[in-house]
């Protein structure tokens, strides 16, 4: 019993310590890139000699701007498409698949277990060899959607799994059409899952190299430009671009933090149900 008490007391600092170390490990390279983007000695910015020259050069570089635009386009369209398809698929699995559930589930999550390189290469073979299609943005978006779809399914399924479908039935009994039921009952309750899926898909597609690389042809995106720049050594402008994106995201997270701190928004967090199943 005594050892149990000590273990319990040690548990919290140990857990928090591991968390802090882990976040530090994850963010060290990000900080390295951030420091590199604002200093003259960008490959070893310790200590940094501050300069804004990199950002000025970035503002003039049209290739990187096009690349950012293409990456954003791939990210947003892939995320929309995969969230939509995954939402359909999850509802289908949970409500309509019946005894075929396992078969459909295997098909739907199979892309998770096929490496990105293989997805990219096999799509390249199919498009290039059998359809005689050159590289283009649309096939890159579609191939990314295959990969992201399964992740979205996983995320949405963990949310929808706990959803009580009797709520839908209730709405229908009271005369709501299926469409109205979805938008007025289901969607407001499951949106955190859909939103999470959208964000994750966007992030994965935005920076995907291994799928997009083989399907894009000459269309530049951020990762492919970075890959191309490697031949001559990485350019600090790319560091600046990445840091710019990061600063923007941290600003959004900072606003979220302040809003949650003041209790203005809760983002699905229900304090009174903290330790309960439903």
């Amino acid at each position: 019993m005594a050892t149990g008490n000590i273990a319990r007391k040690l548990q919290k600092p140990a857990l928090i310590g591991t968390m802090v170390l882990c976040y530090l490990f994850l963010y060290l390279p990000i900080i390295h890139i951030g420091l590199g983007s604002v200093s003259q000695n960008y490959s070893f910015p310790y200590p940094p000699k501050l300069t804004w020259a990199t950002f000025e050069r970035l503002a003039e570089n049209t290739l990187y701007q096009t690349a950012l635009g293409n990456s954003l386009l791939i990210g947003v369209l892939t995320a929309l498409l995969s969230t939509l398809l995954a939402c359909l698929a999850t509802m289908g699995l949970l409500r309509h698949a019946g005894r075929h559930t396992v078969k459909f589930l295997i098909l739907f999550i199979a892309p998770l277990f096929v490496a990105e390189v293989l997805l990219g290469l096999s799509s390249l073979i199919f498009n290039g060899l059998f359809l005689q299609l050159g590289g283009n943005l649309i096939s890159a978006i579609l191939a990314n959607t295959v990969h992201c779809f399964s992740y979205a399914l996983l995320i949405i399924a963990t949310q929808l799994y706990r959803y009580d479908w009797r709520l839908d039935d209730a709405a229908m009994v009271f005369g709501a059409t299926p469409l109205r039921t979805f938008f007025e009952v289901t969607l407001p309750l499951i949106w955190p899952g859909l939103f999470g899926a959208f964000i994750v898909c966007f992030i994965m597609a935005f920076n995907n190299l291994e799928i997009s690389f083989y399907l894009l042809g000459a269309t530049p995106t951020l990762p492919s430009v970075a890959w191309g720049a490697l031949r001559y050594g990485i350019k600090p402008e790319l560091y600046a671009l990445a840091s710019g994106v990061n600063v923007l995201v941290f600003a959004v997270l900072g606003i979220m933090f302040i809003l949650m701190r003041t209790g203005a928004v809760r983002f699905g967090h229900k304090p009174e149900r903290d330790r309960s199943a439903i």
Partner: protein
């Protein structure tokens, strides 16, 4: 009520399940099939010749280099995935238990590094671990010897792979724990189980499914890693995925590459099946899909 009858009668089922299925068959299954077809053809001077043979597989199996790369990749993938699960557990658990109302923010924090491209992050890791990197710079400034084992070795590759895939594993285990009823731990404690016993007998088995999915999602990309070994692995760090990608780039031997891809695909499937053989779904708290 169940099965084919209900499916054929209900048009909604065809929309909900049919649309994603058709999408996947067209854009996922057909490309994989075309890769398998290509692997039985051959390439000559950058041209593909439709001449059915198994030479590509013969090359993969007998050329010593590919077998070495494959074994090295397998060992690497197993070690990295195990490490990731071991690190991810305390972190995900910590976020769940001590995250309070900032849980969502903390879990989003794992996704943010992904916004910086893989290439840049690997280069940054190189900047941190390499001979002129921060870590060795600090060590040398303090008068200590630099750590040679983290410069362009397989250990550096392993650190890089853990770095790239840890966030995925943490997220999966986090999602699993999010759906886990924490009151069960309280119940175990009330009945006299210490924290360790509670974890081994309640928390771990009930979240085994999450751990295994996390393991698999780390294992598959590690097995085919291309970037990390190229930049961190050094001269004896070539992994299978890197050699595979070269067949489609520099060497232009697509058919051989396709055969290597098929081998990789089969190995990933075998690995995943092996992992999931350990799962007894009912023991892991899985209660089936149909709730109605």
């Amino acid at each position: 009520m169940i099965g084919g009858l209900r499916m054929s009668r209900d048009p909604r089922a065809w929309i909900f399940l049919g649309v994603p299925s058709v999408f996947l068959v067209l854009l996922f299954v057909l490309p994989l099939v075309s890769m398998i077809v290509l692997s039985f053809w051959r390439t000559e001077n950058y041209h593909i010749i439709q001449d059915w043979n198994v030479d590509n597989y013969h090359v993969v199996a007998t050329a010593g280099a590919y077998v070495t790369f494959l074994i090295r990749s397998l060992v690497m993938a197993v070690i990295v995935s195990t490490l990731c699960v071991a690190i991810a557990w305390p972190v995900a658990y910590g976020v769940i238990v001590h995250g309070g109302r900032y849980k969502l923010l903390l879990s989003l924090g794992f996704a943010i590094p992904f916004l910086t491209g893989e290439v840049l992050r690997v280069i940054a890791l190189q900047g941190l671990l390499g001979p002129l990197g921060l870590l060795n710079g600090v060590l040398m400034a303090l008068g200590a010897a630099p750590l040679r084992f983290i410069m362009y070795t397989n250990i550096a590759s392993a650190i890089g792979l853990v770095y790239l895939y840890l966030p995925i594993v943490v997220t999966v285990i986090y999602l699993s724990l999010l759906n886990f009823d924490m009151r069960l731990i309280d119940a175990a404690r009330i009945f006299g189980a210490g924290p360790f016993r509670g974890f081994v007998e309640v928390t771990w088995p009930l979240n085994l499914f999450g751990s295994l999915i996390g393991f698999a999602l780390c294992f598959v990309p590690c097995l085919s890693a291309t970037l990390v070994p190229r930049f961190l692995g050094g001269p004896s760090g070539t992994l299978y995925g890197m050699a595979l990608a070269q067949q489609f780039g520099e060497s232009g031997t697509w058919a051989l590459g396709a055969a290597m891809g098929v081998v990789l695909f089969l190995l990933s499937i075998a690995g995943v099946l092996l992992v999931f053989r350990f799962v007894d779904l009912r023991r892991s708290g899985f209660t089936g899909f149909g709730r109605s």
